[in-house]
């Protein structure tokens, strides 16, 4: 009862909500880049929102199921197919023994999440299943998945093995009511006032392009360098997912899931939590536009998003008869 990697992808890892409580020791939180899609994948198979999943980038791993199980994929659409037959994301699927899951081409988004009913049998490290590749700990052997890796299921499929895979007849509505999909909302950073007036204007009006040098640590933005009015160096301070820092060369970076616990570059803004998922689905070459908001609005949007997840969870439970 496992899923086996029969061809390795570019960077697929086990992730959950992240490893918190250890940043005081320099141990960064990691966790899924898009925690919203991770939650959706989990709920579709009846798991808690926080269950550990496989986060996939494209080109993705190819998987063989050694046993039947209930699984779901959410987040990016990489054209998943089972035994060559296309299947959709955001739908629960019962796969049969020896079914092969592969991802054919990236249609939309940057990372997708594979969850299975009751989750994977793994050892947590410091209370989390997230992979910390730097410390080589957590997830599966502290590294990205490789060919011949076998990830065991916590629970065996309780029903008869189906003759072929079966798509369950419902689909999660993932839209939570984002009224401004073209923008990343930000809260001003502590060093915002250090930007020149011209750079402040550019920050709010320019179209930044995501660089190909972006990864799970940070998104790098290109083609609109900004100017700071001072050269004052900052001593290191805590940072977080979504923190927008200005590099000495004038370009911006947005910290993501594998960010360091502390950093010393000036902080110009912070992407609000409700827009982290949107950020996490952006690819190299995509356009980023910022819009300024305040903490109150950021909190309201976060709860609106969480409310949608809760409704979805109830609906999924009812459908699964759990």
């Amino acid at each position: 009862m496992s899923v086996r990697v029969i061809k390795s992808g570019i960077h697929d890892t086990i992730q959950d909500l992240g490893r918190y409580g250890y940043q005081q020791y320099g141990i960064n939180p990691n966790g899924a880049m898009d925690k919203y899609s991770m939650a959706v994948a989990n709920m579709l198979v009846g798991n808690k929102m926080s269950g550990a999943v496989i986060e996939l980038h494209f080109p993705s791993s190819v998987f063989l199921f050694t046993r039947a199980c209930l699984m779901a994929i959410s987040g990016a659409d990489f054209s998943p197919a089972i035994n060559g037959d296309p299947v959709e994301i955001n739908q629960p699927i019962v796969v049969a023994k020896n079914d092969i899951l592969q991802f054919q081409k990236p249609v939309r988004g940057a990372r997708c999440y594979l969850a299975i009913d009751e989750g994977f049998e793994l050892e947590p490290w410091l209370n989390s299943y997230s992979t910390n590749t730097k410390a080589q700990a957590g997830g599966l052997k502290g590294r990205a998945l490789m060919k011949d890796d076998e990830i065991f299921f916590k629970k065996d499929y309780p029903y008869k093995n189906p003759n072929s895979f079966k798509i369950l007849p419902w689909k999660a509505t993932t839209s939570w009511g984002d009224e401004d999909p073209g923008y990343l909302y930000i809260i001003q950073g502590n060093e915002w006032e250090q930007l020149t007036e011209e750079s402040k204007q550019k920050f709010m009006e320019a179209e930044f392009i995501i660089s190909g040098h972006s990864d799970r640590m940070a998104y790098k933005l290109e083609n609109n360098p900004l100017t700071r009015r001072t050269n004052e160096e900052l001593v290191s301070t805590g940072v977080g997912f979504g923190t927008i820092q200005l590099l000495p060369d004038g370009n911006l970076i947005i910290l993501a899931a594998d960010h360091q616990s502390t950093g010393g570059y000036p902080r110009m803004g912070h992407v609000i939590s409700a827009h982290h998922a949107k950020l996490a689905q952006m690819n190299a070459g995509d356009v980023v536009k910022f819009k300024l908001t305040d903490v109150g609005m950021a909190e309201r949007l976060f709860f609106k998003q969480q409310q949608h997840l809760k409704l979805l969870q109830t609906a999924c439970k009812n459908r699964l008869g759990a």
Binding site: Y20, G21, Y22, Q23, Q24, Y25, G26, I27, N28, P29, W125, L126, N132, K134, A135, Q136, A137, G142, I187, G189, N190, E232, L234, V235, S236, T237, G238, V239, G240, F241, G242, T243, Q260, S261, T262, G263, R267, H270, V271, I272, S273, V295, G296, A298, E299, F302, F303, Q306
Partner: protein, 253 residues
């Protein structure tokens, strides 16, 4: 003594208490003390507390706080108010401040790729550099950058050198200098500090219950492993010594 501080939001679920942008012993003591104060409350809504040189950052869980909030009030305002009330209280903290860790270092050329550069820059001999580095007791101001990476200070001006322009690949255990800071790379990593030696001590080990050995507020002394008797040196090698033996180097003052 009351310290001046400012509180700002670091995104919508994080807040920073900032005591001023500087490396200062008294400010750092206050930071570490407040860190212990808030940690001792064991609040379930605090996800992470990050003490740094002159700031303390709190990552909080909005979902757990929403029930405390009156209409119109933001969660940020509630947390800020909560923190301000706590900071008004005196807090007598007696944690790791007095703990002294002694770290053996091999300063041999094969482990010290940047020592000649520092010696020529500062016009000192290798022996003088080793003497200077081992003569001070350093304070751990904070941990960050890598799991278990401790920022320590301050080294004497005679050996303070700027970091490299471009990071290079650094071996785990490497002991480095950057400006007036000194520190040890717990893992193989790219890094820009000037490397003057290597320690066999495992400052980070995933197999331990507490993988990170050092804590902000502790004191550290480096010593030349050549200065100890061969028997002791024997017990320090090989470079991958286990976790239990590390405990011998932790002494209460």
């Amino acid at each position: 003594m009351a310290f001046e501080y400012k509180i700002y939001s670091l995104g919508d679920s994080t807040l920073t208490i900032d005591y001023g942008n500087q490396i200062n012993l008294e400010l750092n003591k206050e930071v570490i003390s407040r860190f212990h104060q808030l940690q001792s409350l064991q609040l379930p809504w605090i996800k992470d507390l990050i003490p740094a040189y002159s700031s303390l950052t709190i990552h909080y869980d909005m979902m757990q706080l929403v029930k405390n909030i009156q209409s119109q009030q933001t969660i940020f305002a509630w947390v800020k108010n909560f923190v301000e009330e706590k900071l008004k209280q005196d807090y007598d903290h007696q944690a790791s401040e007095n703990e002294l860790i002694r770290i053996p270092v091999c300063y041999d050329p094969e482990y010290a790729p940047d020592m000649d550069h520092i010696c020529s820059l500062k016009n000192i001999t290798r022996e003088e550099l080793i003497k200077e580095h081992t003569s001070n007791t350093y304070r751990i101001y904070m941990l960050g950058f890598l799991p278990g990476f401790a920022y320590m200070g301050e080294v004497n001006d005679t050996i303070a050198v700027p970091r490299k322009q471009k990071p290079v690949q650094v071996h785990a255990g490497s002991v480095g200098i950057a400006g007036k800071q000194t520190g040890v790379y717990p893992l193989d990593s790219p890094g820009g500090w000037q490397i003057i030696g290597r320690t066999p001590m495992k400052l980070f080990d995933v197999s331990r219950d507490e993988p990170v050995m050092l804590r902000a507020g502790m004191s550290v002394q480096f010593y030349d492993e050549k200065s100890v008797s061969p028997e002791v040196r024997e017990s320090v090698s090989p470079l991958d010594r286990g976790a239990k033996e590390d405990d011998r180097y932790i002494k209460k003052q």
